[in-house]
Symmetry: C2
């Protein structure tokens, strides 16, 4: 199994923390993901340093690009299943004074991976087909409480027809429960009006025995909180979370954040659907457009 | 007494909430400040609607400006002293995809007010000199935990020599106490390296009896939390704050935010110093540069 996950959002929205939290290991040391990956120290269990898999996509170091593409790979074990996880990050996105077209290097990377797959499909020796296509894009929304910014909408419009788009509200602990309700409604309305297609449950989830599924997708955009720190709650439990003078946030508590729903969607329940939709719907669309000219 | 306060920051950083919290009254209804001021309802006690004082500076509605200048005035009573408060806001700042020169309409507004004063100084009838110059600029920093963004630095460099600059960390409840310490240190270092001059205590605060003063200025950039909502703490007290599933933040509790320090600086202890430095240092500099060249 492999999962190629694209993570996009402005610097400081907790992207690397969330990835570490999702996969329950320090894939990125704090600040490593978006700020140069020197402190990264990943082993693949065979004595190989997988951080060498870090590539810079097509943007060589010579090109003065404001948005870079960085990749980090590691083998993860989830519920006894081995998963080859690759996270593609785009440091620099939204961080300049002028962010015109900052989505472009990211869309180029998605296309490059489609092209790579197209090429390998055309080779005679097809048994070792490696799937590097982007299976899902987590888009991190700033928790302003107001709505999406122009750049957020622009990015979603450019990307939703190329990969499974899953918007998340970053650092949602900044919002009260009421503010989250209003914010989610505003975001959903703005995305609808912009005709942005989000990753949705496949048709069979309309069956009665898929109740928990209904709940997962209703939570989108997921209001998440990430943390790999162990903290102690007021009633003495040790949990992953963030400790403040006024209380302790528990990452895995569904009353505190939608983190568990995101994790279930990405890894436990819909991994196969994500890869399948990429292959059967998104890639096919790309392929036919490309072959038609 | 009057205080002309410039408030700048991206949309959604809690600017209007903070102004309402500082002056303990709904100067702005939620969302009124940066999103058109239609719902504003201010009276000056004489049956006049002071919201008509709302001006759009030099940017007439005809001009397609991404950054607008909006003004709201009201008479406030603080500790039995009447204060004519004017808040100048710049909605649109930092909210576009391309924010090049978005600081310019704001600097133009500061200059326009200096020019207005210069002109009135030159009139024969000088007894009714109205001081509309900007006495302080509160700059709202996004609480990313990393550091200042390029636009933040650019703004501070353009403005620090024209008005008393007071940076604040917006919505600081998103950061743990440790994160606030690191973040403040990073911000201060970045501002120093950019040679940005912040509003500082006047010389006499070096005397022994000014200990509390030393504390106020050490807190800059102030890590603030704003709220006009009454919430109930776990031990039953009614306070201004924000209620989360994991705890209640109290705005006026110095363990929860620097709000009290900011309020003391702006209104209770340094109001006169702010107006004085504007008049004797910043305006003088502007005036001499203007007359010389
Ligand atoms: N309040 C809050 N802070 C977070 C959360 N996740 C990460 N942070 C903090 O935000 C800062 C930036 O996180 P980082 O993962 O480096 O962000 P990135 O630049 O998007 O990769 C760090 O100080 C984190 O501890 C969260 O869910 N809530
Ligand atoms: N977490 C947190 N939220 C805040 C704070 N101040 C305001 N907010 C919320 O942030 C949202 C935007 O606030 P607003 O004052 O309209 O921001 P503005 O656009 O900068 O004027 C509202 O939902 C407020 O309740 C704060 O100190 N902390």
């Amino acid at each position: 199994f492999n999962l190629n996950l694209l993570c996009v959002g402005y610097k400081g929205l907790g992207k690397s923390t969330l990835i570490n939290t999702l996969f329950n290991r320090e894939l990125y040391e704090q600040d490593a993901l978006s700020h140069g990956v020197q402190s990264l120290d990943l082993g693949d269990g065979n004595g190989n340093d997988v951080s060498v898999k870090k590539e810079n996509g097509e943007n060589g170091p010579a090109e003065e690009n404001k948005v870079k593409i960085e990749t980090v790979s590691a083998e993860i074990e989830e519920n006894g299943v081995k998963l080859q996880l690759t996270v593609v990050d785009a440091p620099g996105f939204g961080d300049s004074i002028d962010n015109t077209d900052s989505w472009k290097p990211i869309v180029d990377e998605i296309n490059r991976r489609f092209d790579q797959y197209l090429e390998s499909e055309n080779k005679i020796q097809r048994t070792t087909l490696q799937d590097n296509r982007i299976h899902a894009c987590l888009y991190f929304i700033e928790p302003t409480g107001h709505g999406l910014k122009p750049l957020d909408l622009e990015f979603c419009k450019q990307v939703h027809s190329k990969c499974n788009l899953i918007p998340v509200i970053a650092k949602s602990d900044i919002l009260t429960d009421e503010e989250i309700v209003t914010f989610k409604a505003t975001i959903k309305k703005q995305l609808e009006q912009a005709n942005v297609q989000l990753f949705e449950p496949p048709q069979y989830s309309m069956l009665g025995d898929e109740t928990s599924t209904e709940n997962i997708f209703e939570k989108i955009p997921f209001a998440i909180v990430g943390s790999t720190e162990q903290v102690t709650t007021e009633d003495g439990r040790k949990v992953r979370g963030r400790a403040y003078p006024w209380g302790v946030i528990e990452v895995d508590n569904t009353k505190h954040s939608d983190f568990v729903y995101l994790r279930d969607l990405l890894i436990r329940q819909y991994l196969e659907e994500l890869r399948e939709r990429t292959n059967k719907v998104l890639y096919e669309k790309y392929r036919s457009e490309k072959l038609l000219g």
